[in-house]
Amino acid sequence: MQKSLHLDPAKCTGCLQCEMACSYENYGVFNPAKSRIKVFDFHETGRKVPYTCTQCDEAWCLHACPVEAIKVDAATGAKVVLEAVCVGCKVCTVACPFGTINYVQETGKVQKCDLCGDHPACVDACPTGAITYVDANWTGLERMRQWAAKLDTQPQA
């Protein structure tokens, strides 16, 4: 069973623990500049929104890569960058409609979310449950549950 990262902006406080966890997992350093998940602060409305790769089935980044440096992890469904193969041409960053694959100057390669091999560090770090890792077929389950709770069809006790 595959899982998906599920992002709930309503629960995000903007603490950036996820960005630090991501950079620490992948580079051993606390550094939001190297994070594959970003939190956006829309201060005019007070909304904070975490955003990262959703692992498209139709993976534009993968198809655009001229050297086949992006592979599908069969177990998780993640589209994974093979650093040893990547030539840093950045064509994938043009192809991705969502901006979630990006170049890293320091390594000369691109990076994107790879679901940390089925144990996403951002999920563990999030203190409010704004980022969860759930059954890929049921990312809407919690929202359905909330609406279901409003359907007060039980007889009054």
Binding site: L16, V29, A33, G46
Partner: protein, 617 residues
């Protein structure tokens, strides 16, 4: 190594930016941020210096845990000699700026001299340069951030700046970062303005790496986060209600200073409380509070984000104030509200926005307005002096004075002096509700006795954040003590002061101490930082920092006479509430405090004390 081991020295007179290695021996003795920057400051600056002269210095300092995965790792401090007080000033801020400075590879920035023309410091990792501030001088902190991000085409840049109040050298001007987080107290923004330094704009992509024991640190940080999450105050109260959770609590115990401390309970407290911020307004059906917000790394998220009612008189035809921005924290709500008698939540929110926009400390500002209102009530300030009557409780007067003070206009220039100078000017110095020139925050020392001693002995003038005995006397953290008695408070104050000095030097937020003690911080420091960071060492470091600050103040000319409270608090009993009939028993606590500190009867650290703390060199 948790320290970046590198500081930036900026000579504003010469226009130079020079990197220096961090003094690692001092880091072992003073940890970071507040303690370490104070050590540098005391070593380099004459205690008698005029705070607004080029000879004063200003230090931006982070702690060794700033920018790490430890909870609340956002903090940086601005250290200087404060123009409001003439004492050591150390104001602490959250937001995102402090962590960004660390990510660029710097522990501290020391500013010295004065620039011949307005400038801002631009830092991109190792590259640091002073640039002309022509396009941002005269602008608010909000506009400054937007203009600099646009100019550098860098939306990820973090900006710390002074607004028009700092430029005008309002004596309680703040340094503001990330739109609504501030190094608020003691006038650190006026010092920055006096140096023609408008802003520090930072982008860091190096990160913080190489903590001593990474696995141990991650485990210690996770354990400590769980303590915060499981605690009723940090896990539930603060995220939901913010620090404003205190408004009704403190009012009910009769310790909410009202109308310049004439009263100790405010009849409209519930209308400016956390609960009121959650209520839907009859006008637009929306609550004042939009959401809570965290600073960098913070798993508490006590910050308030508010929207003002668009039909409220303060913002009619002013759409620039209709968006969400930093809402009322307890201290600001108290100072803008109870201290002035204003019970209009929307007006207080507007005043708070303007305080952030142009950078002033809402505590000293609101308290000074309260003092001006009393002087007006006594006939010492006339309507003709101001242009309108300074009536207690008037939301129109409060918001007008906020604009005038922030922008250096008319009677706002008098408010800008702070209450000590204003009351002295009108012949009633005793009506300034301040210690060492700095106004009290939101706890009356008649109803919370420990706070009287904490205020009187605070090294930066009256302040709740130097020794927050409210935690014990009101909330029972770590143990409940009786707020009405003086017994045992000397020891309590000393313990809080020393522990707080350590938290303020670590890079983490003192609000963690609603749930943590030093024993929760210690494993995180021990895992992150080279050297010994045992509980015994931390206790010594905290006491050492406190005494270093005291030494500076004594050398600056302060004596035991300045460890005092306005006579209103020691002679006029609380009129209502559970503390009715009480005055502050400061005189009973102070001698015991000096003795516990190892100070002489006149408040001077003895030779033995200085030797024990390694401060006798």
């Amino acid at each position: 190594m948790a320290w970046q081991r590198k500081i930036l020295r900026v000579n504003l007179t010469k226009g130079t930016c020079t990197p220096e290695p961090l003094n690692m021996q001092w880091a072992q003795d003073f940890l970071g941020q507040r303690g370490l920057a104070t050590k540098y400051f005391v070593d380099e600056v004459d205690p008698k210096v005029d705070p607004l002269s080029p000879a004063n210095k200003l230090i931006y300092a982070t702690g060794p845990l700033t920018g790490t995965m430890a909870s609340t790792s956002a903090r940086y401090s601005v250290i200087t000699k404060g123009p409001l007080t003439g004492a050591i000033a150390c104001s602490n801020s959250g937001g995102y700026f402090g962590a960004e400075l660390r990510f660029a590879g710097w522990d501290m920035i020391i500013f010295e001299g004065k620039s011949p023309k307005p400038v801002y410091l631009h830092i991109e990792n190792d590259k640091a340069e002073l640039l002309p501030a022509d396009e941002v001088w005269g602008k608010s902190t909000w506009d400054t951030e937007a203009i600099l991000k646009k100019k550098h085409q860098d939306p990820l840049m973090r900006v710390s700046s002074v607004g028009r109040a700092g430029e005008a050298q309002v004596l309680f001007a703040a340094v503001v970062n990330d739109l609504h987080r501030a190094a608020g107290r003691s006038g650190v923004g006026a010092v920055m303005g006096s140096k023609n330094l408008k802003a520090v704009a930072v982008r860091g992509t190096k990160g913080v790496g190489g903590v001593k024991d990474p696995a141990g640190f991650m485990k210690a940080a996770a354990t400590a986060k769980k303590v915060l999450a499981d605690n009723a105050v940090t896990g539930q109260g603060l995220p939901k209600f913010g620090t404003q959770v205190l408004m009704n609590v403190i009012n009910e115990m009769g310790a909410l200073p009202t109308r310049n401390h004439r009263d100790v309970q405010f009849e409209k407290a519930n209308r400016i409380s956390a609960e009121a911020m959650h209520e839907k307004r009859p006008t637009d059906g929306k609550a004042n509070l939009v959401t809570n917000q965290a600073c960098f790394g913070c798993t508490i998220a006590c910050g308030r984000i508010s929207k003002i009612d668009e039909t409220h008189f303060t913002v009619v035809n002013k759409p620039e104030y209709w968006g969400a921005s930093g809402g009322l924290e307890y201290e600001a709500a108290w100072a803008l509200g109870a201290a002035t008698g204003v019970g209009d939540l929307e007006a207080l929110t507007y005043a708070n926005f303007v305080c952030n926009e142009d950078g002033i400390d809402p505590i000293s500002f609101g308290a000074t307005v309260g003092a001006a209102m009393e002087l007006y009530d006594l006939g010492l300030i006339k309507e003709a002096d101001v242009g309108f009557p300074l009536t207690f409780g008037s939301a129109e007067v409060l918001t007008k004075l906020t604009e005038m003070t922030c922008r250096g206009e008319g009677f706002g220039k008098e408010i800008a002096l702070g209450s000590k100078r204003l009351c002295a000017k009108h012949g009633r110095p005793e009506l300034s509700m301040s210690v060492k020139g700095q106004e009290f925050p939101a706890y009356d020392s008649r109803g919370i006795q420990g706070m009287g001693l904490a205020y009187a002995t605070s090294n930066r003038g009256a302040c709740h954040l130097r020794g927050y005995t409210v935690a014990s006397e009101v909330l029972g953290i770590p143990v409940k003590t009786d707020p009405h008695v003086t017994e045992g408070k000397a020891g309590l104050v000393k313990a809080f002061q020393d522990a707080t000095a350590v938290f303020d030097s670590s890079g983490l937020c003192v609000f963690t101490t609603f749930a943590w003690t030093l024993a929760d911080l210690q494993p995180q420091l021990q895992a992150a930082c080279e050297g010994d960071w045992s509980m015994e060492k931390l206790a010594l470091v905290g006491e050492r920092i406190w005494n270093l600050e005291r030494q500076f103040n004594n050398a600056a000319g302060f004596t035991d006479k300045d460890d005092s409270l306005p006579k209103r608090l020691t002679t006029e009993p609380a009129k209502t509430g559970p503390a009715k009939g009480l005055v502050s028993g400061l005189a009973k606590m102070l001698p015991e405090y000096y003795e516990l500190r190892g100070w002489s009867k006149t408040g001077v650290p003895t030779k033995e004390t200085l030797a024990r703390l390694g401060l006798d060199a």
